[in-house]
């Protein structure tokens, strides 16, 4: 939707600069005059919130890194010392730890928003894929960050997660050794994780820039899913979207502050307040809450896949679990091509809407099951929901689009807005 630039430098310096490096023009066109649909609801504010959280993580992270020592002998105490004696050390530490959780809350809402309103459909496939890459990078960053304080869950989480790689036939062991810098999680692991944990957020910044660029080429979707057709469909980003995003950010910060100041350890695991001990395995090893759905999928595959009526195992349960877990993220990349419906928004897809909410329930249920020990009924339930998860993407999405009868679409955004208001 990037139309003609309306930027007109006023000062002499502005004109001089504009002829050489039109960065002010770029900013003006991207965040001032950039047209957005007039009917965006609150679920469209999470992109801005995510950008804010990325900045929060980077700023608090850089401060933490000034006091952190990536050495297994002192890492745990270096964090604690900053928390106890540093200037507002407790605030930076809790902001960073809880900020990561808030970042994931926001990204999950953002992704489900996209699934509900069909934001991934042409011409926004690249935009969607860039988003999936950001999500992957976020997971890698958060996983490695969680290892840094070198508590019991840091150590055992790293041991379990890197252990997955050994499931890969032939090269698995070498990959694991490369990741760990040795045969077990130890000082070399901590050092490389710190290095990568510092690097990846800046790679995220890069991909975010591409993501926003792609967004500004195609324009935003909107709750009707009908593309922008006329000037009355859109309003300028500033002041309309700016003030709305700002309001949403402040509301989000209230939620953040609630956890930060009153429940700073609610989202973490108590065992991470015990220094890492390679000789003492915790009773239950669980990852951070935001990984739990994927952890549940990993552990749901408890059976080998073999050639029927023989003993030949094609995929053992361990590899099966790893494939299922990576597959659960890989399907997200394919969503633009799996969904065959010509209609974008679930508001006009009466059946898809139900499956969407079923997927939300599936995600929450898998999250819960990921936190339970892998035994008895929990495993069965995890298998059931894993099945639902994959069925949603691989069966429902391709098949539903073929026969579902959408409800009538409004002719334009303007029509939808004014029509709805007229009825009310």
């Amino acid at each position: 939707m990037s139309g003609h630039s309306t930027y007109a430098p006023k000062t002499g310096f502005g004109k001089w600069m504009d002829a050489r490096l039109p960065i002010a023009r770029l900013m003006h066109d991207s965040f001032v005059s950039y047209p957005v649909p007039r009917n965006l609801n609150s679920f469209y504010t999470f992109g801005g919130i995510l950008s804010l959280m990325l900045i929060v993580q980077i700023v608090t992270g850089i401060v933490l890194a000034m006091h952190y020592a990536a050495n297994t002998e002192v890492a745990f105490n270096s964090v604690e010392q900053f928390v106890r004696d540093g200037n507002f050390g407790w605030l930076f530490r809790y902001m960073h730890a809880n900020g990561a959780s808030m970042f994931f809350i926001a990204v999950y809402i953002h992704i489900f928003r996209g699934l509900y309103y069909g934001s991934y459909k042409a011409p926004r496939e690249i935009l969607w894929i860039l988003g999936c890459i950001i999500f992957l990078l976020m997971m890698a960053t958060a996983f490695m960050g969680y290892v840094l304080p070198w508590g019991q869950m840091s150590f055992w989480g790293a041991t379990v997660i890197t252990g997955f790689f050994t499931a890969i036939p032939m090269i698995g062991d070498s990959i694991q050794t490369l990741l760990l810098g040795g045969f077990v999680v130890d000082n070399p692991t901590l050092n490389r994780f710190f290095s990568l944990h510092y690097l990846l957020p800046f790679m995220i910044v890069g991909v975010v820039i591409l993501h926003v660029w792609a967004l500004h080429v195609t324009g935003q979707t909107n709750p009707t899913g009908v593309e922008v057709k006329k000037t009355s469909d859109v309003i300028p980003f500033t002041p309309y979207a700016t003030v709305k995003d700002a309001f949403a950010m402040v509301v989000f910060l209230i939620v953040f502050a609630w956890f930060l100041f009153y429940l700073p350890n609610f989202l973490g695991h108590p065992d991470n307040y015990i220094p890492a001990d390679s000789l003492k395995t915790p009773a239950h090893i669980v990852p951070e809450w935001y990984f739990l759905p994927f952890y549940a999928i990993l552990r749901a595959i408890t059976f080998n896949i073999s050639i029927p009526f023989t003993d030949i195992v094609l995929i053992d349960s361990k590899l099966g679990g790893v494939l299922a877990m990576f597959g659960s993220i890989a399907v997200l990349f394919l969503v633009p091509w799996l969904d065959t419906s010509p209609v974008r928004s679930a508001n006009y897809r009466p059946i898809y809407r139900w499956f969407f909410w079923l997927l939300v329930i599936t995600g929450i249920a898998l999250g819960y099951l990921g936190s339970r020990p892998a035994e008895g009924g929990y495993v069965l339930a995890a298998q059931f929901f894993t099945f639902l998860y994959f069925a949603h993407f691989l069966v429902i999405l391709p098949w539903l689009g073929k026969f579902e009868k959408p409800t009538p679409l409004p002719a334009s955004i303007t029509d939808a807005v004014l029509g709805e208001k007229a009825k009310a």
Binding site: R38, N39, L40, N41, S42, F43, N77, E80, Q81, V83, R84, W90, L91, Y94, P223, I235, P239, Y240, V243, K244, A246, F247, V250, V251, L253, I254, A257, W258, L260, F261, Y262, L263, P264, N265, F266, P270, D271, Y273, I274, A283, N347, W357, V360, I361, I364, A365, Y368, L369, R372, P373, E375, G376, G377, Y378, A381, V417, L418, E420, K421
Partner: protein, 285 residues
Amino acid sequence: MMKSLIRNTLGVIAICFIGFGSAQASEEGATPHYPIEHPKHVHWSFAGPFGHWDLAQLQRGFKIYHEVCSACHAMKLVAYRNLQELGFSEAQVKAYIAENEIEVDAEPNEDGEVEKRAAKPSDLFVPPFENDEAAKANNNGALPPDFSLLAKARAPERGFPNFVFDVFTMYAENGPDYIYSLLTGYQEAPAGVKVEDGTHYNPYFIAGPALAMAAPLSDGQVTYDDGSPETLDQYSKDISAFMMWAAEPKLVERKSLGFKVMIFLLVFAGLMYFTKKKIWSDVKH
């Protein structure tokens, strides 16, 4: 549109509640889960948004730590100077070090020998044993855990739906509740429960039916000079509060800053809300 979204969301949450409830019910009776009993709830001065320390209580708790627990449990992340946060003066802290003749290793002298010197307020609490192995050797092979973070390192699972309600009730005192319950929870093992030699039955223990530590406190064991009851119950509350302080010394600072930030954010949100309303008043959306 927004309304139906909210309605659907509420529906989903309701279904999830029912689902989790039944999944949990069906799991009872599988492998035994510890602790056998959920921690008892104590009313703590530091709970809630305006939580604050009861300094007299922390001082009593410190007395218990000094007289009883420090024989086995270290507290390596806390320095003597930190005791000033409990309301002791610098002189009192120095007097405490002197009275107890606390010593630490000095820098090596010019002959390369390490001698002892008197501790300074800036030194960290001297642990009772040279190393973990010595601690174990003196405790039948069990390691008494360090107290510095213990009140945050023990938090028995709250279970569903409690953990959801906790977000709204701001329940964050699981750790001290656990320690209080453990200290007051020693009892005869019920018939049929096998308690290994050298361990003591306690249904509040997080990792099994019994733990290696015998009940460390009993009525009248420590003398209080502020008239507080010299009972197991009071002792247990006081030491638990003290351990919470050791684990989270910035708790009060955190909550009081939090209140200011909250007020600021609420006012800011209100202003933004009305600004947004004003700006959007000419656009139907």
